[in-house]
Symmetry: C4
Subunit: 267 residues, 4 copies
C-alpha cells in the first residue's frame, strides 16, 4: 500500500514533463517571430537532411514585428542550428545586439534581398550541387516539373564578375552591400537566382514556402539534367501552365510536413 | 491508499489499448477489403522508402466487396499513411462517407482508370524522378530488363495538353473527370503510362503487383537512361521475350517481401 | 549477504550465454563446409547492403567435402538469408534432401559453372544495375581501376538469344541445363560474364574472392560509365598491368572485412 | 558470502577501465602529436562516412615533435581505424618500432611527399570514384566551385607508366621509393594530384585542411562532370578568383565540424 502514493507522484511529475513543451509552445503564440524562428531551425535541418545544404548555406526569416530586421543563424553548419544560435540582424547587415556571435560573411545576400523585395519574408542561400552545373555550363534552368511552376521560363543567373569587375580582389562570395545589391537586382521579381559556380538563392513569402521552393528547384534541376542527357530537345512548362500552376499547386504545407517527418528523431 | 485501485484500472485500460490492434487484425479474416487496405498502407511506405513517392503521389485499391468503390488515403504525404487515413470513394470520385477528410485533387486518375479497366484492382500514381526525363525528352520508355517484361514495347505517354486544349486554365494536374478519362484512354490496356513533366500511373491486378511493377518501371528507366548514355543503340526485350517473360517472371510476392523487410522498424 | 549467491549465479549464467556462440563456432572447425556456408550468408547480406543484390540474385559455394555438391539459399530475397535457408544441391541441380525447400529457378547458372570450372569454389549471380547498361548498349566492360585487374581486357557477354533460338518460348532467364551450359561456355576461363538485360555472374576461388570481385566489377563499371561520359577515349589497364595486378592487389580479406563491418548491427 | 568482495573488486576494476580513456585524453595536452593522431582517426571515419574512402586509402600526419617521422594507420580499412592502429613511421618508410604491425604497401606516397614538401603536414590517399573518371578520360580537373579555389587551373595527373616503364613488372600501385618520388615530383607545389585509374593524393598544412580539401576536390569533380554533361564549354574560376579565394574561403574548421557531426554515434 505504501507504493501507491509514490506511483501517483511519479505519474504526476511525468505528466508535467510531457506537457512542458506544450506549455512552452503556447507561450509562443504571443510572439509572432518565434514561430518563424522555429521554422528557420527546422528548415536548416530539413535542407541538410535532403542533401541541399552542407557545411555552408543559410536560411533567414524577416521579422514579423519589425520588417527592417531579420533572423538568421550565426556562422555555423546548418545541421547544428538551434534556438541559441539565432541572431537578430538589421537591414544594414549589423547584428542588433552588440554581444551577437559571428555572422555569416554572406549575410549581405539576405540584407539586400529584403531591402529590394518587400514581399519576401524568407531568404535561403544554398550550394546545391544539382543547380551548380547549370550555373557554369551556361544552360538556363527551366521549369520542367508540375511542382516547379513557380520558376520563371528561365531562372536568372548571377555572374559575380559582372558586379565586381572594378574590385581589386575579385572573389566568388557576396561579402558586401555592393555585391548583395547586384544579386538582388539580378533576382528582380523572381523566386530563385542561380549563382555561378556557387549555388543559388531562393526567396518566399514564408520560410516554409522558400524551403519547399528550394527543394523543388533542386528536383527540377535533376529532372532537366537527366532529360537533356537523353535528348537536347525537351518539353518545358508553357506560359499557360506556369500561370495555372501557382493556383493549382503550391501548398507548401504538405511537402513541409513530409520533409519534416523525414528528419532523424530529435531534430 | 486509494491510488492503488486507480492505478490498477489505468494499467488494465492500457493493456486493452495495446492489444486492440491484435484484436483488429484477427477480425480481418472476415473482411476481404481489410487485407487490401493494409497493402495500400504498406505500399505507401515501401514506395516512399524506395525513393519513388515523395510528398505527393498515391496508391489505391478497388474494393473486393463492391467493385464500384475503391480505397485511397486522404490528401497527405504517403510516408505517413495509416489505417485511420484510408477513405472509401465511389467511382464518381466522391467519398462514400459525408464526414470523409479531404481527398487528393488527382483522385480522378484512380476513378477513371477503375471505370475503364475492369481488370485493374490497384492504381498507383507517382512523381518518379527516374521516368520524368523520358516524359519530357520525347524518348519512349522501353523494356530493357528481364524483370520489366510486363512493359509494352513503348510505354504510352500522356501529354495533358492534348486533353485540356479547350480549357481556360491549362494546368498539369489531373483534377477532373475529363482529364482522368483522357489519361485512361491513353493508358488503354497497358500497365503503365508516363505523364509528361509529372510522373507516371501504374496499374495491377493487386496492390502488390502494382507496387512491384512501379518499382521495376523505375529500375528499367534507370537502366535505359544509363545505357543510352553509353550508346544510342540499345538492345531491348523482343516480342518473344515479352511474351515468355510474364510466365517466367512475375511473382510479385518475393520482391514485395524484400521491399517490406527494407522498411525501417515500426512501419 | 543473501544477495551474493544470487548475484554469483546470475553472472555465471550470463557468462555461459555470452560464450555460447563461441562454443557453436568452435564446433564448426570440424566441418569445413560450415565456414563456407557462413560466408554465403554474410555475402548475401553484404551484397544487398552495397546495393548490388536486390530481391533476386544468389550466392553459392562448392562443398569442400564433396566437390559434386554445392550450397545455396532457397528461393528468397538475399537480404533475409539465414542458416536455415541453405540447401545442399548436387551438380545435376537437384537438392540432395527430398524435403528441401524450393530452389531458385536460375540454379542452373551455378550447376553448369561448377561443372565447367573445377577451379571455381563460389558463384554469384546479380542484377547489378551498374553493369546492365554495358550489357544492352553493346559497350564492352573493361578494367579501368587498379582494383579491377582481375577483369579480362573485355568481359564476355552472354546474349541469351544465341542459346535459345530454337526454344519455343524464348525467355531471359537461365532456367535449364542447356542455357546454363551455354553461359558457362561463354564464361570460359573468365572471372565475370555479363548477361544482357539481366545482370552478371561472377566466380571465384572462395566466397570472399567472388564477393569482392562482384563489388569491384560494380565499381569498375561505374568508373567506366562516368569516364565515357567525359570522353569516348579512355585509358584502360594494359596487359602488363593486368598481369602484375593479380600479384600486387588481390587480398580479398581486407575489403571483405570492410564490407562486413558496414552491415547493420545484427546481420 | 565470499562472492561479495570479489564482485566489489570486479566492479572497481571495470570502473578504472571505463575511465581510462578520460585519463588518457587529459594527458594529450602535453603531447602535440596526440591531437594530430586523433584527427587522423576522425578523418579516416569522416572520409569513409562521406563515401570517399572505401576498403583502401589512408591518411597520415607529420609528427610535430619530429618532422622526419609521420603517423599513419596500419594496413586496414579506414573505417575501423582506432588509436591502437596508429604506427609511427620514419621518412625512409620503415616503422619506428620493430614490433609495428603491417603497414600499407603504398606508404611510399606519404614518405616521398613529406620528403619533397616541407610545408605539408598531412597526406591523404583515396580511391575517390568522383575523380577517377577524369584520370582515365584525359580531361583535366578544374576548379569550378567557390569552395575549390585551392585547386590549380588544372590538377596534375600521375600516369604511373611514365615512372615504371623500365620495371619488369609494371603495376598500378605506388609500392616503392622510385614511384613515390615520381608522384611527389609530379605533385610539385600543388595541393592535389590525380592518379590514373587509381584515385588521388591530397596534401595540406594540417589533417583538417587536407581532409576538407579532399572533400571539396570530390564535390568539384562531381560538379564539373555534371556541368560537362550539359555543355562542353564551362566557366571555371579565373586567376583573380583563385588568388582571392584562399583568403576569402578556406577555414577548414567549419566543414570539419560539419562532417564530424555527420558521423554515426560512437565514431
Amino acid at each position: 500500500m505504501q507504493g501507491a502514493p509514490v506511483a501517483c507522484i511519479t505519474l504526476f511529475l511525468a505528466a508535467i514533463m510531457l506537457t512542458a513543451p506544450c506549455h512552452a509552445q503556447s507561450s509562443q503564440g504571443s510572439d509572432p517571430d518565434e514561430a518563424r524562428i522555429q521554422d528557420v531551425i527546422t528548415a536548416s535541418h530539413i535542407l541538410t537532411n535532403e542533401g541541399i545544404l552542407d557545411s555552408f548555406g543559410h536560411i533567414s526569416t524577416r521579422s514579423a514585428k519589425n520588417p527592417d530586421h531579420f533572423f538568421m543563424p550565426r556562422a555555423m553548419p546548418p545541421a547544428l542550428v538551434s534556438r541559441a544560435d539565432i541572431v537578430e540582424v538589421s537591414l544594414d547587415c549589423k547584428p542588433v545586439s552588440p554581444d551577437a556571435p559571428r555572422l555569416n560573411g554572406e549575410r549581405y545576400i539576405h540584407c539586400e534581398v529584403y531591402k529590394a523585395r518587400n514581399d519576401v519574408q524568407s531568404v535561403i542561400h544554398t550550394h546545391d550541387l544539382a543547380v551548380i552545373p547549370f550555373s557554369i555550363a551556361g544552360i538556363p534552368l527551366k521549369p520542367v516539373l508540375a511542382q516547379a511552376g513557380f520558376l520563371p521560363p528561365e531562372t536568372p543567373l548571377f555572374e559575380v564578375r559582372e558586379a565586381n569587375a572594378s574590385e581589386k580582389k575579385r572573389g566568388m562570395l557576396v561579402l558586401n552591400t555592393i555585391l548583395g545589391d547586384a544579386l538582388a537586382k539580378k533576382l528582380g521579381a523572381n523566386p530563385v537566382i542561380l549563382m555561378r559556380g556557387h549555388g543559388d538563392t531562393v526567396v518566399g513569402g514564408s520560410v516554409r514556402e522558400a524551403t519547399v521552393r528550394t527543394i523543388y528547384t533542386h528536383i527540377d534541376a535533376q529532372a532537366q539534367s537527366a532529360a537533356m542527357a537523353l535528348s537536347p530537345k525537351i518539353t518545358v512548362l508553357d506560359n499557360a501552365e506556369l500561370e495555372t500552376n501557382a493556383a493549382e499547386n503550391f501548398d507548401a504545407d504538405r511537402p513541409w510536413q513530409n520533409y519534416k517527418q523525414r528528419l532523424p528523431a530529435g531534430q
